[in-house]
């Protein structure tokens, strides 16, 4: 038991020595693996951020239908009930004429002329009452439109139904960018994983070649296969560990601290940043695991091919 433990420790020590001995090869392998891990984690980060942004914008979208002044409260209640029955609808709020006027006044506090024109009207309120409808998915409004069409006589014909049009377009744009960035991220991650595997594979192949005399000697003095192979696996795993550390440092020092600048473009980063801050252990373990897996897999390929024992 104790011998086994000593042997494992020595395998790690030899791996560490080999790692530090090939400075150039080590640097090349580590840099490529760092880029790979950065792409993986950035893709993940971007996916979270875009999803949150889309969710938030979606929550803001609402459909407003403007009512005639003559509509009775019973008619309006019945219309609202029908609207609530549509699956995509999350809420229906009645906005009275007075509320509409107050909102307008608050929103246009700086527009002096408009307020003055409104004041000149006195008690005459030009704003119609409306129903504000919030939906789950702005892309599935067919059911809602059907209900609105059925109740057309109740609607103020001078004001068409408002779909918050620019918001819908914004959502579509974000969704497109999100989809593109996710696909591009996944493709780039896959490409770089393959490049990393090839570079680590070649680094280990070179290491095996450089140490062929040592390997030969180890075989002849009775070293077990795991003792000869182990240091190469440890060496490759260390590339992954170092790459994970560097990529995490970059993520936590650059991305997490600078990403708030994106907030001014209405991109929602708080939830993702909070997740990264709340679960650093999870993120660190994930990155380490990804790095070590890439390293060990490549080393196993090289060993199977070039280290004949």
């Amino acid at each position: 038991m104790r011998r086994g433990f000593t042997t494992v420790l020595r395998i790690f020590r030899y791996g560490l020595n080999n790692f530090s001995r090939n400075a150039w090869l080590t640097t090349a392998a580590t840099v490529v693996m760092t880029i790979t891990l950065l792409i993986i984690i950035t893709t993940m980060f971007a996916r979270f951020v875009f999803n949150d942004t889309i969710d938030q914008v979606r929550q803001k979208i609402d459909v407003s239908v403007y009512l005639k002044d003559e509509d009775t409260p019973a008619q309006v209640q019945d219309f609202a009930r029908q609207l609530k029955a549509v699956p995509v609808v999350t809420s229906v709020d009645y906005v009275s004429k007075q509320q509409a006027r107050t909102t307008f006044e608050e929103q246009n506090r700086a527009e002096f002329q408009q307020l003055q024109a409104l004041a000149e009207l006195g008690s005459d309120n030009p704003f119609p009452a409306s129903l504000r409808i919030k939906t789950r998915d702005p892309n599935k409004l067919e059911g809602l439109n059907a209900v609105i069409g059925k109740n057309k006589p109740l609607l103020d014909t001078s004001l068409p139904t408002s779909y918050s049009g620019d918001r819908k377009a914004a959502i579509d744009r974000i969704a497109q960018v999100s989809q593109f960035s996710e696909t591009a991220g996944l493709v780039a991650a896959a490409v770089f994983v393959v490049i990393s595997i090839m570079i680590v594979f070649n680094t280990i192949r070179m290491a095996i070649f450089n140490r062929r005399d040592e390997i030969e000697m180890m075989k002849l003095i009775g070293a077990e296969k795991r003792f000869i192979r182990g240091p190469f696996i440890v060496e490759a795993a260390l590339y992954g560990v170092l790459a994970a550390i560097v990529s995490l440092l970059l993520v936590y020092t650059v991305i997490i601290t600078r990403v708030h600048d994106l907030s001014q473009y209405e991109i929602v980063v708080d939830r993702t940043v909070n997740f990264f801050r709340t679960w650093p252990v999870l993120i660190v373990l994930g990155q380490l695991l990804a790095g070590v897996l890439i390293g060990v897999f490549s080393a196993q390929l090289a060993i199977r091919r070039y280290l004949k024992l």
């Binding site: 011998r3 020595r10 003095i221």
Partner: protein
């Protein structure tokens, strides 16, 4: 009653005869005992590479414990093949091999390292690790078997003293002469106290003075109880040592003399 006794005697005799049959358990056990007495036993060992002539052709030899055996022969005679078969770098095409009580027929691949730990090997080109010091090169042989650092610190200086390199523990191979490097290689080979030491042309790269230093060291190790199998082209060494000399030529043993000389080959 007498007939009963006769019948019992007959059954006993039949069983006894059966036990003496070749291949019976008793005979196999006796063979094992016999093998175990020899440190090296080769029985009609043949090695053929591809479709070439045999590199070894029905070679049979046995070496007793604590013996000092010199193997001579021209280049390509089959010496290296023989040594490679002994260290299980090569497998014979046919024949039986028992080394240190281990029968190669039943030796599994995963047990080969255990066999090699019983055999110390010294090479003409030393095969030292250039990035490691003298101490580290010798300690390496103990590290791979999982010996603790404390045991290593205790054992290695004794072997360094045995090979006469005290004071040079922290030097690197490149800082040593050829003779000193070979001493390090010998120290590494014997630090685990193997039953057998195979020295493959250990003096091939050395001048006469250093060659004799190495041979004296091998004799010293042999006196401590290790069986030494030495291959050499050096006639002077073979003739002056007056040890058992086995001569190989074209894959066959052509002479095996108790106190032989090079010319007898």
């Amino acid at each position: 009653m007498a007939s009963w006794m006769g019948l019992l005697r007959l059954i006993w005799k039949t069983n006894k005869d059966r036990r003496r049959q070749p291949g019976s358990r008793v005979v196999r056990a006796n063979q094992r005992l016999c093998y175990n007495k020899k440190v090296i036993l080769l029985d009609r060992v043949t090695k053929i590479y591809g479709k070439n002539k045999p590199a070894l052709n029905r070679v049979s030899l046995h070496v007793e414990p604590k013996e000092f055996v010199i193997l001579v022969g021209t280049s390509g005679a089959g010496k290296s093949t023989l040594l490679k078969i002994l260290t299980r770098e090569e497998r014979p095409t046919s024949g039986k091999i028992v080394v240190g009580g281990i029968d190669y027929d039943t030796l599994k691949d995963k047990s080969v390292p255990l066999l090699r730990r019983k055999i110390g090997v010294v090479f003409q080109d030393f095969k030292l690790l250039p990035q490691r010091t003298v101490f580290e090169n010798i300690a390496f042989a103990l590290e791979i078997v999982g010996m603790s650092n404390r045991e290593i610190r205790h054992t290695v200086p004794k072997v360094i003293e045995l090979v006469g390199l005290t004071g040079k523990e922290n030097q690197f191979p490149s800082e040593l002469s050829g003779g000193e490097q070979q001493r390090v290689a010998i120290a590494r080979a014997v630090v685990r106290q193997p039953k057998i030491l195979i020295a493959d042309e250990p003096t091939g790269n050395l001048d006469p003075k250093h060659s004799w230093d190495i041979v004296r060291l091998l004799e010293k190790i042999n006196r401590y109880g290790t069986t030494v199998l030495l291959t050499t082209h050096n006639q002077d060494i073979v003739n002056k040592l007056k040890r058992r000399v086995i001569t190989i030529d074209h894959g066959k043993i052509i002479s095996d003399v108790a106190q032989g000389s090079y010319n007898q080959g």
